[in-house]
Structures are given as structure tokens and as C-alpha cells.
Amino acid sequence: GEPTRSPVLFLFPQLPMFDEAGHLDDSDEENEDLSDSEESVFSGLEDSGSDDDDDDEEEEEEEEEEEGCDDDDVETDSVKEGTNVNEMAKSMKKTSESKGVEKSGKSGTDSGLMLSSQVDEYEQDTSDEEDIRNTVGNIPMEWYKDYPHIGYDLDGKKIFKPIRTKDELDEFLDKMENPDYWRTVHNKMTGTDLRLSDEQVDLVHRLQQGKFGDVNFNEYEPAIDFFSSEVMIHPVTNRPEDKRSFIPSLIEKEKVGKLVHAIKMGWIKPRRPKETAPKYYDLWAQEDLNTVLGRHKMHIPAPKMRLPGHEESYNPPPEYLLTEEEKLAWEQQDPEDRRVSFLPQKYSCLRAVPAFSRFIHERFERCLDLYLCPRQRKMRVNVNPEDLIPKLPKPKDLQPFPTTQSLVYRGHTSLVRSISVSPSGQWLVSGSDDCTVRFWEVSTARCLKTVEVSGAVKSVAWSPNPAVCLVAISYGETIVLLNPGLGDKFICSATDQLISSYEEPEESKEQSVQWTIAEGSDHEHGQRLILKHPKAVRQVTWHGKGDYLACVMPDDNSSLQVVIHQVSKRRTQNPFRKSKGMVQCVSFHPIRPYFFVATQRYVRVYNLIKQELTKKLMANCKWISSMAVHPGGDNVICGSYDCRLAWFDLDLSTKPYKMLRHHKKALRGVAYHKHYPLFASGSDDGSVIVCHGMVYNDLLQNPLIVPVKVLKGHTITHDLGVLDVAFHPSQPWVFSSGADGTVRLFT
């Protein structure tokens, strides 16, 4: 039994499913009764007893082989390769036909053995089990058809073919007469015919029908679940426990000893405590719903491809086709700069259109576009340009301010250089290049008085003192103090008295300016005092009290540019020893003893009492033309010939607080209103711009400057527009004098 034992062990030990093993076992031992197979099943479970069972089985097998039973072989075949059964049966028949019916028990058994070896050569992997009655091996038997023998037996003797007496006729007769012909099979190896027994025929039938070879085998037996999840009260086997299961195992002891030693030596580290943190976690558990929504919102869809247009057409309208020059230009352009990435082409019909050579290119570029170009949501800054403009109140809310031209004071025949309003606001004086000074009634534009002088009138100034009625007029090198005789008669006569009551001081100082009393016709015209200057007087301005009078004689290199006259004492002072540049205009501080001198670039503020320079304002513009001091005294505006108006806040800085560039041409005159927060500027472009200029008492609050109105009316004559502006002392009205010889009132 040794040789057969090993293959079984080799075949089955690793099979996981015990059922299969059992079945294979069944197939091996076809003829065993059920009880036996059942035992084998149990034996397969029990390791300890398996050897013995195997041995038994092999022994039985061997016995069968020794018996040489044909049936057994056929059965084995049929079990292993059920599909070949028909062919096998035919071949058996052929053999029997060719060799005729020759009955010998020995040969029959031989042939059966041969069959099994031929068909199932590797059933057992030892060559010992081969059918070796004919030793020629597995060769086509046709090779022996010309020989009398059919092969050699184990002893090397020839196996002779059975004497074939049968011819076709015998065959036919045999077929007709032999009732067992249908069950006769020819064995090629031995050349004998074989008659199948009833059992074998039955087996063939059963196999043909696809049934089991064993009649008694019920393939649909109810399955017995040996290993259920339930714990049974009985053990699977009835075997008593081994002794060794009660005594400690030495091997185990040794093994444990080794482990203990290893632990002591530190070779084995205690098992690391299990990581308590869960290995997997909910990635989105902590996620804020808003961020999810935000991510959804932030989804940036891929840019859409441009839809094809006429240019892509195979037959584009001719205007889309490029001309030769355009083609040249297109070719010379960088691919990035090209407006279209292809040349529009015309084909007569769709059939003539070639394959699009750039297709892959285009797809590729599109893909690059889609995933290589980083897309970013551009937060569009929805800034209304209006919002960037500083919030200024609407001009409508800043009323009152002059809006329309109301009156035109006509009479002058040449440009009106200077105007001045009486402190009461009832009269207006204007000096013109036509060598006249005119006095107007403000409310009716009536010229009440005209005084002729002997030169173009450069500047007029009404004395701000309401208790006197004096107007200073400058023309040529002369300043005339004139009593217009308007308004209150008492005041007029009081003024005259004041002037005539002057007594010459004992020691008469030598003065650069000559004071003379007007006499004769001049006196009748209202002239009272005449001041002769060494140089041409350009501007004359009064101090707020009406006693001091400053005049400007612009001259670049002389120190005698500004003189201050005191009317009551008929004295003249030259406050400056040095020339600091061409003086353009001067002004008194309305409240404090300060004096503003505007040269071409700077405005210097002098303290008249301390006789020192207090401030120097940098106008930052080319040639200051005019200057006005805010009635509060802390703000100054300067108009310049380079179209700018600079607002200085004296408390803030020596640089302009605001630069207004509203005029198109040089500014000629600027003025503040006495009470209303208004200032105006007149320019050569013929317009007067009125601005709201609010000065707050709060030092922290900067002045609010809002341009409110552009007043037009003056016609531009000889490139000159508005030459002077003046505000009405009490009403929000502005007067402007122009080169067109008119004075206009805007209300």
C-alpha cells in the first residue's frame, strides 16, 4: 500500500473544503458501500486516524486492480471523463469488429487494463499502474497493421494478432445474426472484440443520459450541516482525549522559556498600545455648511469656447476673407497677437473642404486652457466712480449764492479794471481805462456820477469805514481820495470836515509821497486829497478801519514797492527796506495787525506791530495775480495767471490747502464775501466762478470748498474777460467788471 498512499496525501491535504475531498474519495472508491464512504468522511476529519483509513482504501483498490475487472475500469473512465464515453464505445466496437469475437478471460482483462491506462494515463502518477500487457505504448496501432503481431508483452514476446477470419460479409452476417453485436466493442491494442455485459451497457446508457454511474448513488441527498453555528452537546468524534492533552507540553515550555528570556533581554518589546484615534474619520463631519455652500458658490465654470462665426465657415462672405496684405500681416504677427488663429478660406463646396489639420492642436490647446490656466474669481470691485469723489454737499443745499445775471452797468467805454462796493451796499464804484470813475446805484444800475481823471484808473477802493465817505482811486502815479457825495449827506460833510480840519504838524518830514489838497474843479468833482507817488500805482487797498491805505507800486528792484498811508495824519510809510520780488498785491488782515504781501510766487504775512515776517505762503504757481483775505483772517485765496486758485489755511500749512483749477484762463480777481461763506474768482475766460467756502470755527475741521456756480456774461475783448470781482457786503450778490466795459451784477 505504500506507493498509492503518497498521492492521496499529496492530492488532498491542502484542499480547504472538506466536502470536495469527500466526493473525490467517493469517486475513488466507487464500489464501496455507503457506510464505508461515510466512515471515510469521518476519517478525513480525524487527523490521527487518517493514515489507517487511507491504507485501507489503497488496499481495496489494489485488490480491484488485481481482479482486473473491466467494469471497474470503464466506470473509472466514465467518472473522470464523462464526455468521451461515446467515442470510447465506438472505438471498442471497432476493435471488436476488426478482430472478431475472440473470447478469452485473460485477454479480456488485459484489454480492460489497457483501456484504463490509455485513457486515464495520469490518474495515478506512477507508471506502475500502466496497462502493460502490450508494451508498444501509446502509438497509433495502424503502424502494426502490416505485421502479424500487434506488439510485445512484458517478456518481449510478440503478441500476435488474432487470426482475422472475418471479412465484410462475415461482418454483415455477424451484424445480422449476432444478437450481441450491438454490445461488442473492438480493442485495438489487443485486437480482440469485447462483449459488454448488461451492467456495462446500463452504465453507458446512464452516462449518456448524464446520470451518475452508480445506480445507488443519490445525488440529491439532503445536506447535513455538520458545522453549524450552533454549539452541539456532543463532540464531533467519540474518541477519548489523548494523554498528551493532559500533560504540559515540553516544546511549549521550551518555547515559552525562550519568549520569557527574550522579553527579559528586551528583545521583545511589549505590544504597543493600540492607537485610540480612529484610523478613519469623517472628513466632512466638521465642515461648516456655509463653507460648503461657499464652495458651491465659488465654483468657476470653465470658460466657454467661442462659437464659430462666419470666419470659420468653409464659404465665408468675402469680407471675412483676408487680402494679401492682411495675410502677410497675419503671418508676420506672433501667434498670440493674431486676432484669429487661422486664415479664413473659401471652398466651392463642402466636399472640397480638407480635413482640419489643426484639430488635435485645437483640442490640445483647449485642454491646456481648461486645466493649466489657473482660474480665479476676480472680485469685481463694484466701485461707483461717483463714490470716489469726496462727498460734497450739493450746490442746491448751499444756497444762497449768485445764480443769474441781474443787472448790467453800462457806461464805460473801455475795460473796467477795478470795482468796489460801498460799505452800505447801495453804491458801486468802478474805475476804467477810459480815464473815468463811475458811481452806480446798485439796485437800478444807474450811473449817478462820473469823475474824469487824467489817466487810466488802475484801482478803486471804497473806504470800509461807514462813518466816512471816501473812495481811493489810483491812476498813473497818483492816488486820489474822493468824496463821491453819495449816501448820507451828514457823513459826506463830516468827511469833508475831517479832511479840511487837518492841521499841518510842526516838523514836516520829508516824504516820498506828496500829499496835496484838491482844489478848483477837482474839488467840485469830489476830489479831496491827491497823493503823488514816484512810480505808477497799481493797487490801492484800505485797512478795515478806513484810516490806513496801502498801495502797490510794482517794481522788481526797488525797495519802494509798497507804501502805507495814514489818511488822518497824511503820513506815508515804507514798511519794507528790501525788495523781495515784484509785489503783485497787498492786503490788510481784517482783524489783526497783519499785512499780506503777494509777490509773484509767495505770499508773505508780516506782523506790523512786531515788524517781522510771520509766514511765507508758497503758492506754487506762476505769478500770483490777485489775493483776498477771508473776513475771519485765517484763510487766504490767491488767483494766479496759470489758471489756478490757491486756498491757504494759515493754521494748516504754508502750502495751499486746496488748488482749484476751474478756470480755463488766467485769473484776474478773487474776492471773499463778508458774511456768506462764498468766494468768487474772475478769469480771462470771461466767467466768474462762485464757490462755497465754509470756514468752521472748529480748528479741527478743514474748510469746505464746493464750487457752486459758473457765471458767464462778459464778452471777451482783447483776450481779457473778467478783470475784477467784488461781493455785495450784505447780499449774496457778486459784481464783476470786464474788459467789455461793463460791470455786471449776479444775484
Binding site: 444762497p400 441781474s406 443787472l407 452800505s424 437800478t444 449817478l448 449816501g487 444775484t747
Partner: protein, 426 residues
């Protein structure tokens, strides 16, 4: 075309028709309606002559088609519309153009004579036909205002105010055509711009002198009494008094101060109440007995002129912002503007209520136009009298239906405006 139900009525019995509703086309205009009324009248009265009518829907003159008017006025077209009709005002007929030597600063006319003050320092009396009757030269400066005081028989009393700070009272004998300066009133430290005489001309004559000067006591009032013996009243003595050769000098009875700026116009609303308008944007009402301010109306612009109508008891003011505004002087809420008449394009320098019609007034402006208004049609004036070539400085309206206006073009225009006035009513 849609139809409207309308009922016509009038206050003039002469043209009354049956008080029944008529169905009239909604698109019909004034002329169509006028024809309808005329047809109806012809049916009633045999000898009816064609008369042009004007129509008022809820106190507003109809100036467009009936439908559009009712649309703009938000009047329901479902109900019967009450339409009042009045005889149409005929346009003022220009009568005379009286030339002066200089600007005409003021005009005042009565039924016989026209008194004008001029910038040539004289005041003149003209006949209604435009014949120069008398020239009063005495002022040393521009005559700013003139006023009739009294006219009994042949002798008349009149006042002239001038820039030379005096007001002269003249006695003029129309038969002998002699004039004599009776009194010289002083009291102002500035030009006298306006004088008004109180309604009870016989006994008391108030002269109000407005000066354009910003003093604390801006508004002063001098009150000479008109008595037969012309004895100077023992008024409050003034420090400064000059005897003038032109007559005896009077001094003010009372000075009303309160205005912050120049006072531009003054008038009597009744015997005890004085109203003044000023450049300080206010109209103030004064009690003359006590000399105290009674109430104040505040505007937003300088007032140039005011006029008061005793018929409708409204004040009309002309401002520098080209509006003519109507005020109710009795209203407690002083700033209430009842109505704004906007059509002028320059300063309104003269307004004058019609002495006989409570709805009408004239206004003169620096835009050279005199406008005739009916406050029932406030959107546009009734008539524009565009005769002047320069600024209009003064305007007047006499009881006899004469409109006068003088301006800076040295011309005084007179217009006859009598059509409606003669119709004895309204």
C-alpha cells in the same frame, strides 16, 4: 371724442343762462365754449351781440383744452363739471407814450393827472393825454418816489421823495398851474426811496422813508399832519435841523426799527397798520399806534416791492429771484407763500394790484416787460405788455382802469384796460 357733463354759471346776470348740465366735447377749448355760451344767449336774448368769454374751472382759468386742463388739475371727468364763465378780458390798449428826459423812477396817477418822478431830479405832472402840465424842480438829487396826498378841487397836495434825503410836500393849483413847496421833511440819513400816504388822506399823511442803509434803526417814519394852518407839530426834536428855503421842515413822529438791511418798500394796509419789505428777506407788519412790530413774513430773497389789495387782502411781493409771490399778511404762519407767479426773467421791481379787481395785478421787471396777471391762472400771465426797451422801474394802476409803467428807457407807457372793469361786477 369723449363728452363731458358741464354746468355753466356766471355772476354776471346779464349773461346768465339756464342752470342745466350740458354735454360738451372734452377736447373743446375756450373758443368753442365761448361759442356755445353765445349760442345759448342768442336763443334767450334776441338782440344779443357776440361776446368773448373766458372760463374758470374750479377757480382756474381754462387755457388749454378742457380735457387736458382737468387732467392736470386732477379733476374727475366723471362728474358734472362746474364751469364759471366771465366776459373775456380784452387786451390792454396802449394809449400814450410819454417821453421823459431821464429814467422814470416812480409814477402815480389818479383819474385826471399823472405824477411822475424822474432821475432828472424833477417831478412832473402830466395830463392823461400825455401833455406836460407842470414840472417841479426843487430836489438836488434824483426823485425816487412821488405820491398824491389830496386833491380837492383845483388845489392838490403831492409829495416827492428824493435821493437828497428830503421829502417835499408841494401844493399845486391846477387852475393857475402854480406849484409851491410847502414842507420839507427830513429825518433820514440816506436817500428816500419810497413814500406812501395812508388811506385816510384827508387828515393824516404818513410819509414813510426807507433808506438803504444797514443801521440798527433802518426804518424810520416821519409823520407830518395835514392841517389847514400848517403849523409845525411839536414832534420829537431832532438834533440836526436845517431850515430850507423850500418850506418848513418837519421831523419824524416815529421811527420803526427792526429791519437788518435796507428797506425797499412800504405801504399802508389799513389806517393803523404799516407793512414794509426789506432786503433782509422779510416783510414786517407794524402797528403804527405803538410803533411795534406785529408780525413778520420771511422769504428767501430780497424784496423789491410789495403791493396790498384791500379787495382780496393779499400782499404781492416782487423779489430779485424773478417771482411774484402772494402772501396773506394775517396768517399766523408768516412764511406761507400762497402763490408764486413765475414768468419774469429779471428782478421784479414793481407790483401793483388792480384797485377794482381782486384777482388781477401788474408786475414790472428788469426784463423790460410788464405783465398782467390773474391769480386764477397762475401758470402764465394774462398779458405781456412788452413796450419798454429798458428796465421797468415803476408801475401803477388807477381806479379808472389805466395801467402805467415807467422805465429806464425814459418812457412812460399808459394802457387802457377797461373791458372787464366796465362790466360792473366781480
Amino acid at each position: 371724442m369723449s363728452q363731458l357733463q358741464a354746468r355753466f354759471f356766471t355772476e354776471n346776470k346779464k349773461y346768465a343762462i339756464d342752470d342745466v348740465p350740458f354735454s360738451i366735447p372734452a377736447a373743446s377749448e375756450v373758443a368753442d365754449l365761448s361759442n356755445v355760451i353765445n349760442k345759448l344767449l342768442e336763443a334767450r336774448i334776441a338782440d344779443h351781440k357776440h361776446v368773448e368769454f373766458d372760463f374758470l374751472v374750479r377757480g382756474q382759468f381754462l387755457r388749454s383744452s378742457l380735457a387736458s386742463h382737468m387732467d392736470t388739475e386732477n379733476i374727475s371727468t366723471e362728474e358734472v363739471v362746474e364751469i364759471e364763465y366771465v366776459q373775456k378780458f380784452t387786451a390792454p390798449q396802449p394809449e400814450e407814450c410819454i417821453m421823459h428826459d431821464d429814467w422814470i423812477s416812480s409814477v402815480e396817477a389818479d383819474s385826471e393827472w399823472i405824477l411822475t418822478g424822474s432821475y432828472d431830479k424833477t417831478a412832473r405832472i402830466w395830463s392823461l393825454e400825455g401833455k406836460a402840465v407842470m414840472t417841479m424842480a426843487g430836489h438836488t438829487d434824483v426823485v425816487k418816489d412821488v405820491a398824491w396826498v389830496k386833491r380837492d378841487g383845483l388845489s392838490s397836495l403831492l409829495l416827492t421823495a428824493s435821493l437828497d434825503q428830503t421829502v417835499l410836500l408841494w401844493e399845486w393849483n391846477s387852475e393857475q398851474n402854480k406849484v409851491k413847496a410847502r414842507h420839507c421833511c427830513r429825518g433820514h440819513a440816506g436817500s428816500v426811496d419810497t413814500i406812501v400816504v395812508d388811506p385816510s388822506r384827508t387828515k393824516l399823511c404818513f410819509i414813510s422813508l426807507a433808506e438803504l442803509k444797514c443801521l440798527k434803526t433802518v426804518f424810520s417814519l416821519s409823520v407830518p399832519t395835514e392841517e389847514e394852518d400848517e403849523v409845525e407839530e411839536p414832534n420829537r426834536p431832532r438834533k440836526k435841523q436845517k431850515t430850507e428855503q423850500l418850506g418848513l421842515t418837519r421831523t419824524p413822529l416815529m421811527t420803526l426799527s427792526g429791519h437788518n438791511e435796507a428797506v425797499s418798500a412800504v405801504l399802508w394796509t389799513d389806517a393803523e397798520e404799516l407793512c414794509s419789505a426789506s432786503w433782509d428777506h422779510t416783510i414786517r407788519l407794524w402797528d403804527v399806534e405803538t410803533g411795534e412790530q406785529k408780525s413778520m413774513l420771511t422769504g428767501s430773497k430780497v424784496f423789491n416791492c410789495i403791493s396790498y389789495s384791500p379787495l382780496c387782502r393779499r400782499l404781492a411781493s416782487g423779489s430779485t429771484d424773478r417771482h411774484v409771490r402772494l402772501w396773506d399778511p394775517r396768517s399766523k404762519d408768516g412764511s406761507l407763500v400762497l402763490l408764486s407767479l413765475t414768468s419774469h426773467t429779471g428782478w421784479v421791481t414793481a407790483v401793483r394790484w388792480s384797485p377794482s379787481n381782486q384777482h388781477q395785478l401788474v408786475s414790472g421787471s428788469f426784463d423790460n416787460i410788464v405783465k398782467l396777471w390773474d391769480i386764477r391762472s397762475c401758470k402764465a400771465p394774462l398779458y405781456d405788455l412788452a413796450a419798454h426797451e429798458d428796465r421797468v422801474l415803476c408801475a401803477d394802476w388807477t381806479d379808472s382802469g389805466l395801467i402805467l409803467s415807467g422805465g429806464a428807457d425814459n418812457k412812460l407807457y399808459t394802457y387802457r384796460y377797461s373791458a372787464y372793469v366796465s362790466d360792473a361786477g366781480a
